[in-house]
Symmetry: C2
Subunit: 282 residues, 2 copies
């Protein structure tokens, strides 16, 4: 495995590679990221993992400075997962001058995660487009853990006619069901013990939707939200959307996804669950 | 020379091509475009000319519907200029669904041409980015006739790390000095006879700047603008900018460009002239 820090070295290293797969990350890698790398190696002969904490996608009050960085630990993990190239550009390599051109995504950028993180998805789309231009992969893998990000990036590739196949990676979970996330490291022992209850709420909702027993879906969501709040969570949102572009779920929609974001103390956790409605309300 | 209409056929045709050069156009080709194609063939083994009248860059009151289209005449001209592939996508090939992702260029998009054409450069940057992703050229050629467009696109390529070399094409002129433009076809006989006076004004300004005699540059510009108006022109702007990102020209700047846009009747003509200041004001 090779580690490159500049665009020049990256292009030299990749010249002549047949089928390149890209896994963009912000480092602080856990099993969830490694699963994406393994997925990429199913589709590509050369897997590039980028590690770059992207200032553009952090708001002014967010944790850009305290976001964990440990390149040495990250590269050790990547070597064991079948990664061929680590691209870890410096800030000045990625942004030689202040970024003046942005990808402007559609209105979904201001909903859900975007509602509490203005400009976040604009920053994500812009840096991912730059990484695509730098690496020129044939395949890119993104985790469904960040479902809204996955949805927006998949649609960006289509809408901008990028010659890249987008492959989703399933969410990897701890044994108790908590979705792996770099931010789990911020949880106290008590918070860590409570954390799986977000996924439990999503699962109960999925069962109700699947069985068609949630005739008043909004009421069922409201109940689950209340349950979490009684357990000490601050719920940012808990919602059911269509899997297509995360449009508002209509009665006829069968392929749905339940999305939740809630805080334990100062740590914000995200989770989601795709679910399928067998029968609609009559 | 081959003519392809779909992205699928384009990619099949270009597979294995070593060095691809792209000349994006809206058709209605004249000697100015052919000079860009000849320039591209100096840098590429396979020159692709795209022909697509891009709705995104026209305002609601602009001439999208009456913009001239003649694919047969265009392809004849291209064949004689050393073009290998004409890419002429349909509206639904370029925009299979309404465009939802846009390139948002910097504030220069709202100045000069952008001041009278809101959203124009956003539409230009977005379609050119899509064409870049479709054709994947190593080299792209754009005319300096549309100087602000050239400036914004050149900077877009840098800012988004596109792996493309941008090559400028010089403006081609009629014998009397009028810059060739598809819109010249709209001029009446009298207007056509008057049209070269825009370039004459730019030239007089360039001489004054070069010699350093324009100690009060704004006053000199104002005089030239008045002269044009007395001859029946409606002057949208006449201005001197730095060649770098078209920033406001400062006293220390040596590499300048004079930009003019003015209307004769209902036809809007653009022209520009790069010029060099030997000595600054003391």
């Amino acid at each position: 495995m090779e580690i490159v820090h500049t665009l020049r070295d990256l292009r030299l290293r990749l010249a002549g590679e047949g089928l390149v797969g890209l896994v963009p990350t912000m480092g602080s890698l856990h099993e969830g990221h490694l699963a994406l790398v393994r997925e990429a190696s199913n589709h590509a002969s050369c897997v590039v993992t980028s590690i770059f904490v992207n200032r553009l996608q952090f708001g002014p009050t967010e944790d850009f400075d305290r976001y964990p960085r440990d390149l040495e630990a990250d590269t050790k993990r990547l070597a064991s997962a079948g990664c061929q190239v680590v691209f870890a550009p410096t800030e000045s390599e990625m942004y030689p001058s202040p970024q003046r051109y942005f990808v402007e995504p559609p209105a979904l950028q201001n909903e859900l995660e975007g509602a509490v993180r203005p400009g976040h998805f604009r920053g994500v789309c812009t840096v991912v487009l730059k990484l695509f231009h730098m690496v020129q992969p044939q395949v890119a893998v993104f985790g469904k853990k960040d479902y809204q990000q996955w949805t927006l990036l998949k649609e960006m590739v289509e809408s901008l006619a990028l010659p890249i196949r987008m492959v989703p990676g399933e969410t990897i979970r701890a044994e108790d069901g908590l979705a792996l996330s770099s931010r789990n490291a911020y949880l106290s022992t008590e918070e860590r013990a409570e954390a799986p209850h977000l996924q439990m709420a999503l699962k109960r909702l999925a069962v109700a939707i699947h069985a068609g027993s949630a005739t008043d879906l909004n009421q069922t969501i409201e109940q689950e939200s209340m349950t979490l709040q009684q357990r000490g969570w601050h719920v940012d949102y808990l919602t059911v959307r269509s899997q297509y572009a995360l449009a508002e779920a209509k009665a006829k929609d069968r392929e749905l996804v339940i999305l939740g974001a809630a805080r334990l103390g100062s740590t914000r956790l995200l989770d989601n669950l795709e679910c399928y409605r067998l029968v609609g309300p009559s």
